[in-house]
Structure formats: C-alpha cells, structure tokens
C-alpha cells in the first residue's frame, strides 16, 4: 500500500484526484490547492471533503443562520451561545442546562434501527461534551403516510432504534412528535434532542489549548463503519438509480456509550481536561481540526496510535471513520496518569495520540511520514460560504389563494356530522394516541421525570432538594410552513413556547432542527431563508435566544422536496416542579376555560388534511405579543396554584384539545360552545395563541381577572363532569369511545 505523503504530493502536482466523488466542487478543490500551495494528499482531501460538506460546514445555511446571533434578544441566561457543541443556559441556583436537537434523517431511511440509534448517541455525546450529565431525550419524528408499506419498514425500525439506544443509556424519553405526511415517504425526519445539566463552573469547551498538552482519544476503537457517512449520506439526494449506500451507516453500541458517559463525568468531576470534543460526523478529522482551530492553533497527531477494530484501515479511512462512542480530550501531562486511571476503572480504552503545538498547523503522521499538514482553521472554520440564489416559487400565490373556504371544502354542520368528524379526526394517524411508539421508551429511569409524553411538555427535576426543574417541548408544522414559511416557522416556535408555558415553566431558550429539501433549488432556498428570518424575528420578539441547532438539507426524492419543516425546541425553567400543570382534567366540577381568540382559520389544518386531503390558503395568524401574554398567564396560573390543568390548542383545534384532556384524565366534560361562533369553526379551527385550562371554582374569578387585566380573551366553555365529552346542543361521545378511536390506529397499522 503506497501512502500519499505531503512530500509525495508536493512532488506529484499533476496527479488527478477524485474530489468530485468526495463531494467537492471544482472551485472548492482549487481553493484547497491554493490554501496548501500544492495539491492535497489523499488524507487531506478526505479531511477537507468531509469538513466542507454541507452537513459539517453549513455552507449554504451559514449566511441565514447568522440572524440567530444578530437578532438575539438581550438575555443574561446564555452562558454559552451558538457555535459550541450546544448552548448553555443559566437556570438559577448555580445550575445550568445544555440542550440541542439534531437530525439523523438520511441514515434512518437507509437503515432505520442503526440510523435512529446513532442519532440518539450523537446528540447525547454533544451534550456530554459540554461538561453536562445528559438527563433526558426527546424525538421529533416524521414519516410517510401511516399506511404506506415503506412506513411499516421505517417507523418500527426507527422507534426500536431510539428505544434500544436510549433505554440502554438510561435516559428517560420525555416527549417529541410523530407526524405523517406524503412528502416524508422517501425522506423520514428523525430528529433527536438531548438535555443535560451541570453546575455553572463545570462548563467544558472544545479547544486544544496549551502547547505540550496531550491529545487523548478514548472510548470505542475505530473501525470501518460510517466512512463517508457524513459527506455522502447527508449531502446527496436519494436517487432511484444511485449507488447502494447501505454500508455507510454507522453502527451504535449503547453500552459503550453509557460507560463512556460515566467515565467522562468522573473525569470532569476531577477536573482533568483542558478541552474536549466528541467524535461524530467526520470523526477524527472534525475533532482534531476543531479542537486545534479553537485552541492554541496547532496539533501533532500520530495516527498509528489510534486503536483500530480493523487493522487494514488506511490513514484516509481512519481520519474519516465515524465509528461511534469515541471522545477526544486535551489533557495536561501532569494529569494524564489520573485520566488514564479513571478510564481503566471503567474499562474504557484510552490512548495518547498526539499533542497540542503552537505551530498553527495540524500535522498528522502515519508510519513516520507526514500525511496531513494543514492550517486547522481552513478545515474547521473557514470552509466555503455560499449565497445560494433563492426565489419565491411561482406557484406560491396560487397555493395561498386556494383557501379552504366553506364553499370550496364542505364542512360538517349537523350534530351527527360534527360527531362523525370528531371521531374520524381523533383516529387519524397524526392525532391518534402515540402509545405504540412511546411505550417502547423508558420514561422513568433516573427518577426525575415529572411530565412525559403525551403531556404538552416533558419536564425533569434538576435539583431534588429545591425542586428546580426544566421543561422542554418540540414542535413543527410542515404544512403551515409550506403555505408560508415565515409564519410557519413562527407558529412552530409559538407552539413549543406555549407548550412549555402550559406545563408551568417559563420559556428561556430555543434550539432548532431545520429540515429542508435541496439548497440548490431556489424555491427550497427561499423557504429556508423565509423560515430562518421568521424564526429569528420571533425569537427576538418572544425574548428567547437560539442556543444552537442543526440544518438538514437535501431531504427530497428526485425533484420533490419534503414540506419545509423547521422543528423548534423550547426550554423553560420552573422553580418548583411540584407546581407543574398537567394536561389532564382534575376533579369533577371544575371550570373549563378557553383562553385566546378563535377565528375561521383552517388553512393547513389537520381537518383539511384528514377530511379533504387539502393543503392551501394561509396558516393561522401569528400574534407573538398575544403568545407572550398567554404564556405569562399560564406560568402565573401555575405559580399561584390557580390551575389544575392546562393544554395548548393546536393540531385538530379545540375539539382535539378537549379530547386529549379527557383521555389523559379519564374524565368527561360538559362543553358549551361560545356564542356567535360557528360550531365547526369553534371545534376545528387551529387559531394560534390559545389554551384550554381547568380551574377550581374558587379560583375562577381570580384567573379570569388576570386574563382581563392582560387583555387576553377568556371564555368559560364548560365544566369537568361525567364520563363523556358532551358538547351541549351538538353531540356527546363517551371517553371510552374516544379512547377506543384514539388508541386503535397505530397498533392496527404497526402490530
């Protein structure tokens, strides 16, 4: 085997290199040659190609993502902002949390179990890398139609993979989403969120400082899995006649990761690292170049020392391998012995593979010869930046004009029709109970789960002494975004924000996973530009900064892109988890109130989707000021003990919100629809900025006074009562019948 060394590369400038096969454009390749003043070695080419891929470099999205920083609201809560592995948020009492959502879409389509499993593994390592103990995970998932044959292949595998990995790590799964839509058939969205907790002083950063400090690789050995996974899988559309890419998906070992977590936390507690980075996409290439780039600027790595599962791997493959469950730490020589001792205690393989230098170069040596000699910033942080052209697609006006008005889409009007519509909606895959999925996840482990799915937000206790806790919700609505990406992204944020507030927590910070089609399509790029602009504007208005996230492009099959799907995660803090508000109705006799305003807003609604297969018109109006007021009311209501239940109104409208509150508690309600509103609109409109709450009669006046004082409409719509959802003068459905309709759907489809 001949090795392409730096000396050899300098001597053979005319060798033709497969840059295009590695995903690099001709001008990108020329830039690498210009940076190096020679042709790159094959190891350098491998490194640049993975690090300059869309997935790692954000080259198409960067110019838009800058808004999250530029428009960031003033806040004291951010301890670490965008750019690190994950943002860190101050939640008080000396505690901080770090959280992030990421995609693992393409691998999960190719190999559902391993793709989803390693998605969990990757995000958990990101959180761990910040110095935090991972404490919970959530999974927003999107699939093709529930009854499509391929969904029966992908969904069970994804769910089993998430459960198989997350359960074995001992992380409670506290929420997420399961959404079905035609456009996700060839491109399921498998997003994974993790949240971790740490003390303020314990934050760790990914930088290699201090020349002479040692670079230690620890965790699993390096194998041939995932080679090219990042640059190939994440950046190319699936073509019907494309090459089989199956072997590119990494294989996870959650046991190794669990041990690695405990080992790292013990190392952190003993204060033994200067900097730390996990090995995820682009493996060692990414970890070494990022650590060096952010630190003293240089690093010398002896690649021969990397422990291998497969001794035949070439230096290029070792640099690109995405073998899971690996970490890279920078350790002062005086602390190395103690570091290795802790690894030994946990039976974790740890190897000193290099040291930090002040040369400004990342030098990688293989069998005594230099195979990489590059300025690390050019690999990690100075990749290409594209100003992709974008344009509002021609059909957008027609789409928005195609509103679901009563004359175009027949609406139910009689009590029987309304009842039948309700039952049909309740059983529709997007609204039906997701127990088939969530019962495969452990929600109890660690004993701090206060709320978990199907609650509006997941909530975990952070401090057992004081009751301090955090709540998290993720939301996204691709149909709303398709109709208006600017408003759609804001609606996703508003919904997650509202869900967190409904649980009683004060929204603090945002993470996002932006799932879109090809950035090379100006129409898709327009959706992306609009969605990021909308999200950044809304974060500013709501006072919640974006702390980090992830972009996933090329989610399309042939020319057809997925619905633009920004998934937004909101984190909130609650001083005492004992005060949390659940979604299920409390005792009989309590008053049910609808907070917020209902308009005839059915564009992109679940009703239009389920009953008419229709997508057109405009999404519901976004009123961020109202969202903020509503959140204040929900948080105050929880803090002051006025609320026994709260539930946001979104997909499926008021009807679905009431159904879910009945199902969660097993109690019925007598409901009076507000005067002057068409019963169908009252039940199925998806107007934003609304919540249903239940209050004890003794608190009713105090609560409604609070709403009035804040100029938020509130109307009494009923009382918790009996064992049926009884919509007065319209229809009645027993809780038992609702449950049967809601719970039968997924088991019937997936076994």
């Amino acid at each position: 085997m001949t090795v392409d060394t730096v000396a050899h590369a300098a001597a053979t400038p005319d060798v033709v290199q497969p840059f295009a096969e590695l995903g690099l454009k001709p001008d990108e390749y020329e830039r690498i040659r210009a940076i190096l003043g020679r042709r790159p070695t094959s190891s350098e080419l491998a490194m640049y190609s993975v690090m300059w891929s869309e997935h790692c470099s954000y080259k198409s999205s960067k110019v838009h993502l800058r808004q999250f920083g530029e428009k960031a609201p003033k806040t004291d809560a951010l301890l670490v902002g965008i750019g690190e592995n994950a943002g860190v948020v101050d939640i008080g009492q000396g505690w901080a949390v770090t959280f992030k959502v990421e995609s693992h879409n393409h691998p999960s389509y190719v190999e559902p179990y391993q793709g989803a499993a390693t998605g969990v593994g990757g995000i958990v390592r990101d959180i761990l890398t910040m110095g935090a103990r991972p404490v919970a995970v959530m999974d927003p998932l999107r699939f093709g139609p529930a009854d499509a044959p391929d969904t029966r292949r992908v969904l069970p595998g994804v769910v089993a993979g998430i459960g198989g990995y997350g359960n074995c790590l001992g992380l409670p799964n506290i929420g997420g989403e399961v959404v079905f839509d035609e456009t996700y058939l060839g491109n399921p969205l498998v997003n994974a969120l993790c949240v971790g907790t740490l003390r303020h002083g314990d934050i760790k950063l990914a930088k290699a400082s201090g020349p002479g400090n040692l670079v230690v690789l620890f965790g699993a050995k390096t194998g041939g899995d995932g080679i090219g996974g990042v640059s190939v899988l994440a950046s190319e559309t699936f073509d019907a006649d494309g090459p089989a890419k199956r072997p590119s998906v990494q294989v996870g070992d959650p046991f190794t990761e669990k041990v690695l977590i405990e080992c790292c936390l013990e190392i952190f507690a003993a204060d033994l690292v200067v900097g730390i980075q996990d090995l995820g996409g682009a493996g060692l290439s990414c970890a070494t170049s990022e650590l060096a780039s952010a630190g003293s600027g240089g690093m010398h790595v002896v690649l021969d020392r990397v422990p291998l599962r497969d001794p035949t791997l070439s230096p290029e493959e070792i640099l690109m391998s995405e073998s899971q469950e690996r970490m890279c730490a920078v350790v002062e020589p005086a602390k190395a012995a103690r570091f290795l001792e802790i690894c030994e205690r946990w039976d974790v393989t740890a190897t000193v593979v290099g040291e930090v230098t002040d040369t400004g170069r990342l030098v990688v040596e293989w069998h005594g010869e230099v195979v990489v000699d590059v300025p690390p910033r050019t690999v990690a942080h100075e990749g290409p930046v594209y100003h992709r052209p974008f344009a509002r697609p021609g059909g957008q006006d027609d789409l928005q004009a195609d509103a679901p008005t009563a004359d175009r889409l027949p609406r139910p009007s009689t009590p029987d029709e309304l009842r039948a519509t309700l039952l049909r909606m309740v059983a529709a895959p997007n609204l039906a109970a997701k127990t088939w999925v969530t019962s495969q996840y452990d929600r109890y482990v660690r004993g701090n789960t206060v709320l978990a799915q199907p609650e509006d937000a997941g909530m975990v206790r952070v401090d057992e002494e004081t009751g301090l806790g955090v709540a998290l919700a993720t939301d996204g609505n691709g149909r709303h975004c398709r109709l208006d990406p600017y408003a759609g992204a804001q609606l996703a944020l508003a919904e997650a924000y509202r869900n967190v507030a409904a649980s009683g927590a004060r929204p603090l910070a945002v993470t996002n996973c932006l799932n879109f089609g090809s950035p090379e399509d100006p129409a898709v790029m327009w959706q992306f530009a609009e969605a990021t602009r909308g999200l950044a504007d809304a974060c500013l208005e709501l006072g919640v900064p974006v702390t980090g996230g992830n972009v996933s492009f090329y989610n399309q099959t042939g020319e057809v892109a997925i619905l633009p799907t920004p998934v937004v995660g909101v984190l909130g803090v609650i001083d005492d988890v004992d005060r949390r508000t659940p979604m299920g109705f409390g005792p009989e006799g309590e008053t049910v109130l609808l907070v917020g305003e209902t308009r005839d807003e059915l564009g992109g609604s679940e009703w239009a989707h389920v009953v008419h297969g229709h997508l057109g018109g405009l999404p519901p109006v976004v009123d961020l000021r109202r969202e903020r007021q509503l959140a204040e009311i929900l948080v105050a209501g929880s803090r002051d003990g006025m609320l026994t239940a709260a539930h946001d109104v979104s997909d499926g409208g008021l009807a679905q919100a009431l159904v879910e509150m009945c199902l969660r508690s097993g109690r019925g309600a007598r409901v009076f629809l507000p005067d002057g509103v068409d019963p169908f609109v009252a039940l199925f409109s998806e107007s934003a900025g609304r919540a249903v709450v239940a209050v004890p009669r003794s608190e009713e006046l105090r609560f409604t006074d609070m709403c009035v004082a804040r100029h938020v409409p509130v109307v009494r719509i009923g009382v918790v009562d009996g064992d049926a959802l009884d919509v007065q003068e319209q229809f009645s459905v027993t809780v038992e019948e609702l449950r049967a309709a809601s719970e039968a759907t997924l088991p019937a489809l997936f076994g």
Binding site: A160, C168, F255, V259, Y441, Y444, V445, R446, G447
Partner: protein, 225 residues
C-alpha cells in the same frame, strides 16, 4: 443507626440512582457497591438494580453473574442476606441460580414501558411484608426481556411453596408464565421482580408510591432481627 442497604453498580446499570433514592426514602442508608469489589461493606441487605449490565450481551445478566461482587453476594444470600433483584437484577439472580427459571424476550418482541397493576401474592417475604396478602398495587414496568419462564414442575413448586411473590393483573405485558411478575427463594429472603418499585416512591415522579413498601419491608425485618 439506620440500616445499610447496598446497591450494586455494574457497567451498564441504570436504575442504581433510583434504587439508592428508594432506600433513602424508606429510611435506610444506601451504600454504593462496585462490581469489581469483592467486599459487601457489611451491608444489611442488597439491591441489584435494573439496567443493561455489560450491555446485556450474550444473555441478560449472564456476564454480571461472574462479576467479583457476585461471588461474595451469592455466598451471603445463601447465608440469609436479603437481596432484591429488580429487572436486570432479577435476570442476574436467575443466572446466578439464586432463583430458578429465566427471563426471555417479551412475547410482543418490543420493549414495553407501562404503569402495571400487580397483586402481591406473598406478603411474608423479606421484601413484601409491608403489604397485605392479595394487595393490588401499581408500579412502572419496563423491559425488553421480561417474560418469566421455567419448566412446569418448577412453576408448580413455586406456586405450592408460595414463592410467586407478585403477579400481573389486567395485562400480561411480556408473556410471563402464569402471569408471574416476581418470585422468591425458599427462605423468602431473595426476591426477583421484573417491575420497578424504585420508580414508584414519590407522588411527583411515579404513578403511585406503592413501590416504597418493598424497601420498608426489609427495614422492618432488619430492625426486628
């Protein structure tokens, strides 16, 4: 002085923090025991917690059984030390032959996490004396390989000797023979349980606080002894 109850951590143990919390809430002092140590640090009882010891590779509990700490534990258990094995701990007890039978893959082939109703069949063991015979309780259940199996003769024996400690009600979540959720050794000191009482010890985080009874039971016994 409070009773000292050991909680063993194997690589891959997950519910050790929960078991320690349950011990503490019951009024005892939890003592962390490490799989590589041979000493039991003079504890009065031991909990083998849930999780995936050694990744559940080979077979659930099959590798943990050979951990150094288990040598001491098996001897002590044979000598009367109360031991509660929960989920993976139950699997380890079976692999160690402290309890008969085995736990196999759920009949649904899926991991299942649910709030499970149980009936306490034997309220005379070291870990169930706080309950009434026949008492119905609800605690979380979460397992992928929780289907209890044994040959008919062993099952008959367990039944005849009152060694079926708890049984599933409403739904048999994993296909266990005769709806068995937990069993004990002949002396009633070693109990294996597939559901997770340590997750039902606080009203805020559990479906009930029914699980606490398992931990207070052993305390009563230790104080009385």
């Amino acid at each position: 002085m409070a009773a000292r109850i050991g909680v063993v951590t194997f690589p891959g143990s997950l519910d050790d923090v929960d078991a320690a919390r349950a011990v503490r809430l019951a009024g005892a002092e939890p003592v962390a025991l490490w799989h590589k140590d041979r000493t039991l640090q003079g504890v009065d009882a031991v909990v083998l917690p849930g999780g995936f010891s050694y990744g559940d590779y080979l077979r659930c509990g099959a590798i943990a059984r050979f951990a150094p700490v288990m040598e001491s534990l098996v001897d002590a258990a044979r000598g009367g030390l109360p031991v509660l094995g929960i989920c993976n701990g139950f699997q380890i007890l079976c692999e160690s032959h402290l309890l008969p039978g085995a736990l196999t893959r759920n009949d649904s082939l899926h991991f299942v996490c649910r709030d499970q109703r149980l009936r306490i069949e034997n309220a005379a063991t070291a870990w169930t004396s706080a309950f009434q015979p026949g008492q119905e309780i609800v605690v979380p259940l979460k397992n992928g390989e929780g289907s209890y199996v044994a040959d008919e003769r062993t099952l008959d024996e367990l039944e005849a000797e009152g060694r079926v400690v708890a049984r599933y009600l409403d739904v048999n979540p994993n296909g266990s023979r005769r709806d068995i959720a937990g069993i004990s050794n002949a002396a009633g000191t070693v109990v294996g349980l597939m559901p997770h009482p340590e997750h039902a010890v606080e009203p805020l985080t559990g479906p009930t606080t029914d699980g606490l009874g398992f931990f207070t039971s052993v305390l009563t016994r230790l104080v009385g002894a």
